[in-house]
Every structure is written in C-alpha cells, then in structure tokens.
Amino acid sequence: MSGYLNIRNLSVSLRGGGPILRSVTLDVAAGQVHGLVGESGAGKSMIGKAVLGTLPRALQITAGEIWLDGQDLLKLSPGQRRHRIGATTALIPQDPLTALNPSRRIGPQITRRLVDILGWTKAAAEARALELLAEVDIPDPRRVMRTYPHELSGGMRQRILIASAFAAEPKLIIADEPTTALDVTVQKQILRLIAEMQARHGTALLFVTHDLGVVSKVCDSLSVLYAGKIVENARMRRFFMHPIHPYSAALLAATPTYTNPQGSLMPVPESVIETVEQEVTAHDRRWGRR
C-alpha cells in the first residue's frame, strides 16, 4: 500500500442498528491533499472520527482496517492507539465554537499536545505556540495566549485551531468542513491559510467538505461518499475531466464551477439517486447489513 493513511473496507454501524459506513476504502498519500466529498449526513465526519478514535458511543466499527503509516490502528490497544494518533495526527474541526474549552485560556490549549505527548518543556511549547500563532496571522499572539475563547471571533478561533493543529508538526491533518461554520467573507481567507500551511509544512491533509468547488481548488485527489459508501476514488484531473460514476458526474454538473461556470445549482437527477440507492441496497444485502 502506498500512502500515509489507508482505510480498508471500514464498516461502522449503530450499535444494534443499521450501517453508517459501508466498506469504506480510501488512501491519503503523504504530503498530499485528499478531498472527501458527500452530502450532509453521508458519513464524512464519521470517517474522520473513526480514524481519530472519537466515534460517538452509539456507533461501533464492525469491520475493516485503518492503516496509519504502515500500522493497523485497530490492532493496537486503546492507549497505544491514542498515543500514536496524538503524535502523528491532528484535527481542524468544523465548529470553532465548541472545539475550544470555554473555561481554559488559549495558551494551554495549544501547548497541551506538545507537553503531554511529545514531552516538550512548557517554555519550548509556549515559544512554538507563539511562532505558530504569528504564522496564522494572529495579531499580538502573546496577548491572545492569555485570552478565553469567548473573547475571540469565529475566524480568530479557527486560525487558532489551525495553528494548534500544525503545532506538533503532525504527518496527517483531518480538516472536517473547516469553513462551514464561518462567515462567507472569512471562509476564503481560512481556506487559503489551510492550503498555505499544508504546502509549507508538507502535511498530508484529509479535507472533508460538501463543496466540490473548494475541492477543485485545494485537493490532489478525492473520494465521493454517498450514504456511507464510497462511489468513486479518483485523482483530481481525471475526476473533473472524466468522472466514472453517474453520481459523481451529476454532482459535478450541479456545482457552479469548472464544467459549468455560469452555473445555476441543479439537483442531482432522480435516476442517478435511484442508481446509487440500488448500489447501497445491494451492498447491504451482500454484507448482511453490517
């Protein structure tokens, strides 16, 4: 297997209930940006959470492998796994409002991982945090380190979370719709910032979004997810020139960029939805609804 993160036939289901992810397989190559696209509720966040080990309790992994740097995470003990993920992987979350602890100052929330996992001294971790805050264009980082999250705007908080994600020089960052909760005016800046930081640090990035337009700008490859099932894995150029799956093609046609620049937003045709639904049902039948 090539790539830094390899997910193989990952199935997640509600405890005592139906499937949420259906044999998901995808690769994220080292230093590359891989897009994960799908409608709201398709299961994009659950893929990220399965990798990070933070799935909601109601869900469980029923089958599959999650290889991180040549090691299957699901074969490790919970403690080993947490440590391994902490040392190599970081998350840029969707909602900067709930992603920072409201009752702790910004500083310790950034330095936490450096001190806890990498064993840095407090002084070194603080110096690093200041450096990163400056890198994400936060004015007066020293003062910001002492503030509480509620004193900062959403855009500022997301910048801080980006700084925090890159602070420990992780090999992989999972960005779960990092701009969805922000004002439209801030979204572009944050998107550019993430792309710049990724390029400068050479981090592999799993970029979760429901916006194909964004994917076309920042990603090297992508996966399309429908109802917990990957309908297409592709390199960027090939995908936009020649999508294989009808759902991908419909999605592409519905996006007001690239193939369709004037673009009115079109719904995905009924016939296509029927095709994918049939595939999903066929999958469930074959795998006994796990």
């Binding site: 902490g86 040392a87 979350p93 920072l100 602890n101 409201p102 936490r112 806890d116 004193e151």
Partner: protein, 283 residues
C-alpha cells in the same frame, strides 16, 4: 476583543456584598460567640423570664433581644446557635458536594455501566420523601451533630449527582473533549482538566444552596426535637420553643426565624452571584 484583566476589577454586585456580608457576620458570631455573647446562653433565671427587646417598655439592660420563658438571653442563644448552623452548613454541604458531584461527574463523563449504577441509585433515592427519610435516618443513627450531618449527606447527594451528571453529559459531547482525547489525554485526566472546570460554576452554586438547605434541615430536625441535645442552643429549637409562647413573647420566635431566613437566603444568593462571576462565558 475585551481585555481579560479589566473584568477582574469589575465591581462586585450588591447581591454578593449583602449575602457575603451577612454570612461573614454569622461566621464571626459563630467563632467568637463566647467572647461577644452578652450572657451565658444556658443561664436560666425565672425572674427574668419573657423580657421584651431593648426598645420596649420593661426591657432589662444587657438582654438586647429579650429573654425566653426560662429567662435565657435570646441574642446570646442566637449567637451560639450560629456555631451549630455554620458547622452543619460547612461540613454537611462540603461532604454532600464532594460525594454527589464526583458521582455525577463520573456518571456523565464515563457513561456505560458506572452511569447505569449511579443513575439507578439516584432514581431509587429520589423516590423517598426527604423529610421522612431524614427522620427515619435519625431514628436509626440516634440524635447528635454527626448523625445530622450523615443524614444530610445521605439524603442530598442526589441533588448534586443529578445536575452535575447532566452537565458533564452535555460537555462531553463538545468537540473540545474529543480534541483533548486526540491530543492523547487519558480519560481520567480529560475529566479533571476539561470537564470539571466547566461544571465548576454549577458546583459552586449547588454547594452554597446545599449549605442553606443544611441549615434548614438542621432547624427542622431541632424543631421536631430530633437534633442535638437540648442544652446547646439551636435556631430550630428556639423557633420550636418560641412558637408556644408567641402571643406572650413574639421575640422568642421572630428573631431566630429572621436569622434563619436571612441565612438561607444569603446562601442561595451567594451561589447565584458566584456562578455568574465564575462562568467564563457569562463573565
């Protein structure tokens, strides 16, 4: 963005001043009662029975708030009664808080079987009417200060457990808890460093409220004569005795009643005030 430092110098509200002031006054009364009480609270003198407070005709010098039917000084008895009230408030309140909040935190954060066990106990507990429960417990444990404290803890830990469990539950669903986990924090550490600070304002509010409740419970038990032995003055005991002679000597009932009322009110107001100050989002 606002400056965090300016908020620390913000004036304390009137509510905090008044309630905090009254409780400080009571704490001083409790500590220094032997030195500041004008009379021996137990000394009986039937010739001084039912003397009115100082502003009424027929009052006696040195007996500021009058005397009861046995000639004991009401003010001195209230001051000595503050000792017992404060001890019960502090010890029972703190113990109840420690036990209830810990269990609630564990149940809400870990969920699974710890939650099932703790929640089941809370449900069973809440099915008992608290006053009957208290009387039953005192009957088993016997009267006395320790019994009262134990009874309050046993009855009231559920108040903390229930509320703190719900708060811990909603905090645990927040992304920052997941982030802490991804950052490699052990679960127990996450509970203490991430969840606890966010439920602390609620714990403080519940604690002061519980102190007020402890004072009331002690008064009720004294009122029905199930508290400390009758020779140490208690507010509840005074209210019980005063009630009998209220038509001849209203002051024997009214002064301890006012004291009790102000104390309980202060505890609850202090809790609300502190909660607002501690809460980083409301602050």
């Amino acid at each position: 963005m606002r400056d965090a430092r300016s908020e620390l110098t913000r004036p304390i509200g009137v509510r905090l001043w008044l309630s905090g002031g009254w409780l400080m006054l009571l704490a001083c009364a409790a500590i220094f009662a032997p030195w500041i009480a004008p009379q021996d609270p137990l000394a009986q003198d039937l010739f001084l029975g039912r003397m009115p407070p100082f502003w009424e005709n027929g009052s006696e010098a040195g007996f500021w708030l009058g005397t009861d039917s046995l000639g004991r000084d009401v003010l001195s008895r209230i001051l000595y009664g503050a000792r017992l009230a404060m001890i019960v408030a502090l010890v029972a309140g703190t113990l109840t808080c420690l036990i209830g909040a810990s269990l609630g935190l564990i149940a809400g954060f870990y969920r699974g079987w710890p939650d099932r066990i703790i929640s089941r106990f809370v449900d069973i507990w809440m099915a008992f009417p608290p006053v009957l429960f208290a009387i039953l417990l005192i009957a088993v444990l016997g009267t006395g200060l320790t019994s009262i404290i134990i009874a309050i803890v046993i009855i009231d830990w559920t108040r903390f457990a229930r509320v703190i469990r719900a708060e811990a539950l909603s905090q645990s669903a927040m992304d920052y808890v997941a982030s802490a986990q991804v950052a490699g924090r052990a679960r127990f550490g996450t509970m203490l460093t991430e969840i606890l600070p966010n439920v602390l304002p609620t714990i403080v509010a519940l604690l002061t409220l519980e102190m007020g409740i402890a004072v009331i419970v002690e008064a009720i038990l004294s009122f029905v004569n199930l508290s400390i032995s009758t020779d140490s003055p208690t507010w509840g005991g005074m209210i019980a005795e005063g009630r009998i002679s209220v038509h001849q000597a209203w002051w024997v009932l009214v002064f301890p009643l006012i004291t009790l009322f102000l104390t309980v009110l202060s505890f609850s107001q202090l809790g609300e005030g502190l909660k607002d100050r501690f809460d980083p989002v409301l602050r």
